[in-house]
């Protein structure tokens, strides 16, 4: 505090003028003031001096110094970089608090169902997708696609404008006029005026739309009641509506058995006939939760036994107790044999050969044994008859664990028939207008259909899609579609629960429209807002009044609107005698949607392209997956050399289509079969402005901008969709000699080269029997420590160096909570949702195929996959292990950092200080888990502006040269801590959820406060299955794992033991012999 003496009584007195005084003491010269004055020559403040200056707080000289320095420094500020102002809201919206995110409920439509979501929004910008915790299907979890869908919103290559063939860009008004003219009806009012809800007088029954017999709609499957309503209007006027899903027909729907809803938690035996119910299933979230519940063997709870018969290698098969690999066609025969043995179905021509198969015998015996429900599931590769068989089996043995929902949808004929008719009509000029909603038929339809040529003959073709894709460019009109986070809509979840889609952000591109807006225009000639259309529908079928509507928006769904369980064909004789038989020499080709890019909808999503495929761990490619035996037969191979996979490529030519694909030899894949995935080989056209590079940059800059070359989907993989047969889209066969090797040396980038656990046991596995006898079997694998407490082996740096143990930090902020995590390997299926959730939450950048091949992927959370038992070509099991920073108490990374960039927080989190990191990489070298990720380049330097919007503002976007890794989502921890602090209460258990935990459908990841003995995480740490990965290193990790359990059929167990597995399953023999 600077206080200057204004008056000096002495000066004044000396001058002979009347003395001015300011206090009684001053005037009387009493007390300290006078004493102080007497001590020195100068008045207080007039000169430097300890005691004098103390009187006034500062001296004149100090004052001058301060002022001088202030002036100088004020001048110096001019040398700084200009400050970029952040503009505040001119008019602040209600309920928006800068820096505090809000959540809105909505739903993501995909594959004919919606996934109920809760989306995080920062100042009106959605950044993170979560499941809706109240929703009966989601229960707060999501699948991997929902997690990645946020990046689709910010896809910089999204279509931005309306395109008219020949005429370049056009406006929505142009389009409205075109439709109204084509419709022939009297155009109502001015189209522009119809834009607002106020003029929404006409209902959808009004005439004036485009509908007549010449109109055809080729639409993606949808569960939207509004779409359904508009469809009925169109169909009522003679329009034709074809629902097309790139995966082909839904065989369950063709079988007419209804939509199966599996309650695995009630099952004792689970049988899958090529059903990837934990992976590419519309209900995978529900299934994962239910399946995990059926495997929870703790505290004497029963555990299901899962038999998987698969034509590919999927995460579902990896979770099985017994895993059998057959060609998809043979799976059907196997199912028929099972049905026959269990008294359901007729048997098939190929069924007899399984009679002596021990797997078959064990399965049948197990189902027959009774004592609980047996659940049968069939996958999309299986013909409708097998689905009918499963329905019958479930009816007899399911014990109510499977219900078949009646969706109320009218049964549809096989799509192949309808498409053939459509194309014939298009060629014959009988289709005046073709509308494609969310479909990309030029890319997706079989080449043999001749759709592309026929499209040219349709006078008015309208495409509504997120991208100007293969189809869009060949249509007379392309309309940009709104992302689901920008639109109003509605839809039903897998179980039928009705949800309302509400936009979280105004459409990024004003010309974009939602499908219901387009359909309304087509049906009525009216340009109406999506909101009104949805309200209108809800008035008829759902929450009509304002209160109910608001409740639906708030909750994200309308309670008690699930589909009723209809009857399944229980016990009825299913005719399987006409199942096709595949010759032993034929090579079967199985087409599947990709677990990463789905049908291509996620192909331009960089996260999904760089997501390691759950089984192969490949990125940025699709492959022809086959067994070693088949590869040898075809004379092709994949070699691992210099840490990179070099594959031969083969040409597949069938049904008029052709594709060249690299070969991937997959352990466990059935012989005589090739699995391929859809969704690659895209050709998207983008309007995005791309910055070129100058000569200097091209010479000296290492280009790390993956968006530079245009849409990232382009040039990745090959499109196999045209190769399909119209009748059976999922499966086809070809003679082996028709497949030719094209070339060698194709680089495949995989994030995991080594699939064996070697002689270690990162994943500890025990059988149920073993677990019951020795609940702590997992601890036996701590081979160097065993029963010895690890404290006997002192760490190099003592405990006192650990912040959480440091008594001096005892009372520090945050130290009340000691964070920790458990990962239940018995529940984890490796679905990858956590990987993308982490990427989305923590701004993890992508690095591109070349860099992944060099081993520089940035995923904080990696999903390790190991093969266990069996032979190198036919493993017995496949296990998944999510690996990310385990936050060691004695972290090897911390002690080697020369600059303290990584350190321990008082609440036990191993923290990275990016600003402090200089990038020696020593921490990564010394991390036994190798979970640290280094920014070898500046991956985020040239992110397009749209992608920048997808970044979480609560997490630093890292610069090149710094190390990064899992933080236990510290930003989420701190947010909850702030709320708890404001409310002056401790943090509740489960209140902090990490991003990976929140996404996990099977509840494998549990995070919480270890200091609270009642917290779930603390309880799980006491679970006998709990073990610390590499605990023998005395790193004392905060994340521990729960050992995986198997429940093998004792009948089959000896057979596997006779063939000793190359890798031990993690049990220590001496302890439990």
């Amino acid at each position: 505090m600077i206080e200057l003496d204004v008056l000096s009584a002495a000066d004044v007195a000396a001058a002979g003028r009347p003395a001015a005084w300011r206090s009684r003491e001053d005037r009387t010269g009493a007390a300290d003031y006078a004493a102080a004055f007497r001590r020195g020559e100068f008045l207080p403040g007039a000169a430097d001096g300890d005691d004098l200056a103390a009187d006034t707080g500062t001296s004149r000289r100090t004052f001058l110094k301060l002022m001088g320095a202030s002036m100088a420094m004020a001048g110096l500020t001019g040398c700084r970089r200009p400050v970029e102002e952040i503009l505040p809201y001119a008019r602040k919206p209600e309920e928006v608090l800068e820096g505090v995110s809000s959540y809105y409920a909505t739903a993501m439509p995909m594959g004919g169902v919606v996934h109920a979501l809760l989306v995080q929004s920062h100042e009106g910008r959605p950044t993170k997708v979560e499941g809706n915790p109240e929703h009966p299907v989601s229960r707060g979890a999501t699948n991997v696609f929902a997690q990645a869908s946020i990046l689709n919103l910010y896809d910089p290559d999204r279509s931005r404008r309306i395109w008219r063939r020949g005429g370049g860009t056009a406006t929505w008004a142009d389009f409205v006029r075109t439709v109204q003219q084509a419709g022939g009806g009297a155009p109502p009012a001015a189209p522009a005026a119809a834009d607002t809800a106020a003029t929404a007088a006409p209902t959808v029954t009004a005439t004036g739309g485009l509908a007549n017999a010449g109109l055809a709609v080729l639409a993606e499957p949808t569960s939207s009641p509004t779409v359904e309503r508009l469809r009925r209007v169109l169909e009522g006027r003679g329009a034709r509506w074809i629902t097309w899903h790139p995966g082909g027909d839904d065989p369950a729907a063709l079988a007419g058995v209804g939509r199966p809803l599996y309650r695995f938690s009630q099952a004792r035996v689970i049988v899958s006939f090529d059903a990837d119910f934990l992976g590419d299933d519309a209900n995978s979230v529900w299934n994962s939760r239910e399946f995990a519940a059926s495997r929870r063997a703790d505290d004497g709870a029963p555990m299901s036994r899962f038999y998987a018969v698969e034509s590919a290698v999927t995460t579902t098969g990896g979770a099985a107790d017994h895993w059998k690999h057959l060609r998809a066609t043979d799976v059907a025969h196997f199912a028929a044999a099972v049905g026959q043995a269990l008294g359901v179905g007729t048997g098939s021509p190929g069924a007899a050969r399984y009679a002596s198969d021990p797997f078959f015998q064990a399965l049948v015996e197990d189902v027959r044994a009774g004592g609980g429900a047996a659940v049968f599931a069939a996958g999309p590769t299986q013909p409708p008859a097998v689905h009918a068989l499963c329905a019958a089996l479930n009816g007899r043995y399911g014990g109510g664990a499977v219900s078949y929902l009646s969706t109320g949808a009218a049964p549809e004929p096989p799509v192949g028939v309808a498409l053939q008719q459509l194309v014939a009509d298009m060629q014959g000029g009988r289709v005046q207008a073709l509308v494609m909603i969310g479909t990309n038929p030029v890319y997706e339809l079989p080449a043999g259909l001749g759709f592309t040529e026929a499209l040219g003959r349709v006078p008015l073709s309208i495409h509504l899609g997120l991208h100007r894709d293969e189809t869009a460019r060949r249509c007379t009109w392309h309309l940009p579609r709104q992302h689901y986070l920008e639109q109003w809509g509605d839809g039903r979840a897998y179980d039928g629960t009705l949800s309302v889609l509400q936009p979280l952000i105004a459409p990024l591109y004003p010309d974009s429209r939602s499908e219901i807006e387009l359909l309304a225009l087509l049906a009525t000639g009216q340009d109406r807002a999506g909101y009104d259309l949805v309200r209108e529908t809800m008035g008829a079928t759902g929450p009509g009044n304002e209160d109910a509507w608001r409740t639906a928006l708030h909750d994200g769904f309308v309670a008690d609107t699930a589909f009723p369980a209809g009857g399944a064909g229980g016990g009825a004789a299913v005719d399987l005698s006409r199942l096709p038989v595949l010759g032993e020499d034929d090579v079967e080709i199985v087409f599947r949607t990709c677990p990463k890019v789905y049908d291509g909808a996620f192909a331009n999503n960089a996260w999904m392209q760089e997501l390691p495929e759950p089984v192969t761990k490949l990125v940025w490619d699709n492959v022809a997956m086959m067994s070693r035996h088949t590869a040898e037969r075809l004379g092709v191979r994949t070699v691992l050399e210099d840490g990179k996979h070099w594959a031969d490529t083969i040409r597949l030519a069938l049904n008029g289509g052709e594709a060249t694909l690299p070969v991937w030899v997959q352990p466990g894949h059935p012989d005589g079969s090739i699995s391929v995935t859809l969704g690659y080989g895209r050709e998207i056209e983008s309007d995005r402005e791309r910055r070129g590079r100058g000569l200097a940059a091209r010479l000296f800059d290492k280009d790390t901008n993956h968006y530079r070359e245009g849409p990232i989907a382009n040039g990745v993989g090959a499109n196999v969709a045209p190769l399909r047969r119209l009748s059976t889209m999922a499966v086809d066969a070809v003679r082996a000699d028709a497949i030719g090797r094209v070339d060698g040396g194709y680089l495949l980038a995989s994030t995991q080269d080594h699939g064996s656990m070697e002689d270690r046991a990162p994943v500890r596995i025990g059988t149920l029997e073993e677990y019951r006898a020795h609940p702590d079997f997992a601890k036996g694998a701590d081979r160097y420590i065993g029963e010895t407490p690890w404290e006997v082996f002192p760490p190099l740096w003592g405990e006192e160096n650990s912040a959480s143990e440091d008594p001096r930090i005892g009372g520090a902020m945050y130290s009340d909570n000691q964070w920790g995590m458990t990962i239940d390997l018995n529940a984890c299926t490796g679905c990858n949702a956590c990987v993308i959730a982490c990427q989305s939450e923590n701004n993890v950048q992508i690095v591109g195929k070349d860099q992944v091949a060099r081993g520089r992927e940035m995923h904080w959370l990696r999903m390790d996959r190991y093969y266990v038992g069996g032979t190198a070509d036919d493993p017995e099991q496949m296990v998944m292990q999510p690996m990310f920073c385990v936050h060691c108490e004695n972290a090897p990374c911390e002690s080697v950092c020369p600059v303290y960039a990584t350190s321990h927080s008082p609440d036990g989190i191993n923290e990275m200080t990016y600003n402090r990191c200089i990038g020696t990489r020593y921490c990564s070298n010394n991390c036994p888990y190798k979970v640290r990720r280094f920014n070898f380049y500046n991956w985020s330097r040239e992110l397009p502006a749209e992608v920048q919007m997808a970044q979480n503002p609560n997490v630093t976007v890292r610069f090149r040269g710094v190390m990064e890794k899992c933080t236990y989502c510290v930003q989420r921890v701190r947010r909850v801590q702030q709320y708890a602090h404001i409310e002056n209460r401790p943090i509740r258990d489960g209140e902090v959820q990490t991003a990976c935990q929140q996404a996990c459908a099977s509840g494998a990841i549990v995070f919480g406060n270890l200091a609270d003995a009642s917290a779930r995480v603390a309880q799980l740490k006491r679970n006998p299955r709990s073990y610390e990965l590499l605990g023998e290193l005395a790193t004392k990790p905060r994340t521990s794992f729960l050992a995986r359990l198997r429940n093998p059929n004792p009948r089959l167990a000896p057979a596997t033991e006779a063939d000793p597995p190359p890798q031990p399953t993690g049990t220590r023999e001496p302890t439990h012999s």
Partner: protein, 502 residues
């Protein structure tokens, strides 16, 4: 023991009373020694020197380009990945630091042990040390992700209250190497002072005043007085004593980078002695390479004799065998420990994807030096030269094997990967040799490459009893004029051809 053939002709039998084996041949006088060495810094620049200097500068520019590209783009220009966070960078660092060991070992430890044969080679070896340390420092500096803040590793008080972490072996490296570099520089410079004085006086005699002034500046007013000599020798002795522990400590500390970690294959208590032995091994090999060329080119065969080379070869044989013993001990310990990770690490070294590197290392470092058991081979110039290069290749691979094979497959098989170098990795490696030879060529051109004063000290004449009855002759030789009886005049400095023919 010397054989009669290796002895220079003993004219009057006095040699035998001094020592059996003369350290300098050709019966040189003090003046001869001065001439032999000093003339190379004084004559016109030879064309051959210019040529090789241009070549070295080419290498240096590769280094500059590599560093510029690295700093501009990031560490990703190298072939590193996540399990292999260090590869060529730290390999090169340890390699050069190791080479930097021989100089100070020769200067300090051999000095303290009164190994008088060191005098002919210590100057060049020390220079080599300094240049090798300079090369070494490039790598830890530029291998970091954010080189512009690399000074955060230094304990500089700052307004952010940031302080380096003293638990980290990387920080120990900073101290160990910088102290070693500093002390070595001072030691080298102090040793240079009498010779700089000589050069100054020689320049002044022929009227090259500018040169005399420069040399005068650097010779710190050296007059060669008794008082100067006494101070000088005391200082030299103290510095030698200071340097001696550094020789042992610096590579021990460098080895802690690995030994302190928990990486299987790194976490090994044998590392400090094994690294020091390896460093001496490679350092001597490098001195050998350089000296064999220098003595031939500059006609110093009489100063740097085959006896010197043989002694160095014995050191190479001993240290190489120690290193090889350490390699085998590591295998034994891995087996004996019962730790599967250790066992795997060493199995993987010998038979894994980098087995080729391992067997190059074994061949070069353990097997090849064993030829020096044979006296004929260790006195052969040609074999010495080839082997000295082989040894350094082997020692580079030793560091590569330790660093890369340990990192590329550690605890969790899921994270295993492979390291493939890029051209920028090679650019840095080649470029560092460019820097080294640039500096070394400058040294050869401008600085007496042999310690003139010290060599004179081991000449027979330096012994007061050399010429019986001529006490004092040869002791305390002044500059520019000689008090002692000149040697055989008119005899050109020539190689002792009998030796070189081997």
């Amino acid at each position: 023991m010397a054989t009669p053939t290796t002895l220079a002709p003993a004219t009057d039998g006095v040699y035998k009373t001094l020592e059996d084996d003369p350290l300098v041949r050709g019966n040189l006088s003090f003046h001869d020694v001065t001439e032999m060495v000093a003339v190379h810094t004084e004559k016109r620049t030879p064309a051959a020197w210019l040529f090789w200097f241009a070549v070295a500068l080419g290498g240096l520019s590769i280094l500059g380009l590599s560093i510029a590209y690295l700093v501009w783009n990031g560490v990703g220009v190298w072939g590193l990945n996540v399990p292999v966070g260090w590869a060529f960078d730290i390999t090169n660092f340890v390699f050069w630091v190791g080479i930097g060991h021989a100089g100070t070992l020769i200067s300090a430890i051999l000095f303290l042990f009164r190994q008088r044969w060191r005098t002919s080679i210590n100057r060049a070896a020390e220079a080599m040390t300094l240049f090798a340390v300079a090369c070494a420092l490039i790598f830890p500096t530029f291998h970091v992700g954010r080189v512009w803040v690399v000074y955060w590793m230094l304990p500089i008080p700052n307004q952010m209250n940031m302080w380096p972490q003293f638990k980290s072996p990387l920080l120990w490296d900073v101290f160990a190497v910088s102290i070693y570099g500093t002390v070595s520089l001072i030691f080298w410079y102090v040793g240079l002072i009498p010779d700089l004085g000589t050069l100054r006086d020689r320049a002044a005699q022929v009227g090259r005043t500018t040169r005399a002034k420069i040399m005068g500046f650097f010779s710190l007013g050296w007059t060669g007085s008794n008082r100067h000599w006494r101070h000088y020798e005391r200082a030299y002795l103290i510095l030698a004593a200071l340097s001696t522990p550094l020789v042992l400590s610096v590579h021990s500390v460098v080895s802690f980078d690995f030994a302190v970690s928990i990486v299987p294959g790194w976490h090994t208590t044998i590392f400090p002695p094994y690294f020091v032995a390896g460093a001496i091994f490679s350092g001597f090999a490098m001195v050998m390479t350089l000296m064999i060329v220098a003595r031939r080119v500059y006609g110093l065969e009489n100063l740097i004799t085959v006896d010197h080379l043989e002694k160095m070869n014995i050191v190479i044989l001993v240290t190489g065998t120690i290193v090889g013993f350490a390699y085998i001990t590591e295998f034994f310990i891995a087996w004996y420990s019962g730790v599967i990770y250790e066992q795997f690490a060493f199995r993987n070294r010998a038979f894994g994807p980098y087995a080729w590197a391992y067997w190059i290392m074994m061949t070069c470092n353990l097997i090849s030096p064993q030829v020096f058991w044979v006296k004929r081979f260790r006195r052969s110039i040609r074999i010495s030269f080839i082997l000295s290069i082989v040894v350094n290749i082997g020692m580079w691979f030793e560091r590569f094997v330790i660093i890369v094979t340990s990192l590329h497959r550690d605890y969790l098989p899921s994270s295993w990967d492979y390291f493939v170098p890029t051209i920028w990795d090679f650019g840095m490696l080649i470029g560092s040799f460019g820097l080294f030879f640039t500096l070394f060529l400058l040294f050869l051109r401008f600085i007496p490459m042999v310690a003139i004063a010290e060599v004179k000290g081991v000449l027979p004449q330096a012994d007061p009893h050399f010429y019986d009855g001529h006490h004092g002759d040869g002791a305390g030789e002044g500059e520019g004029f000689s008090l002692h009886r000149p040697g055989p005049s008119g005899v050109p400095y020539r190689a002792d051809e009998g030796d070189d023919k081997r």
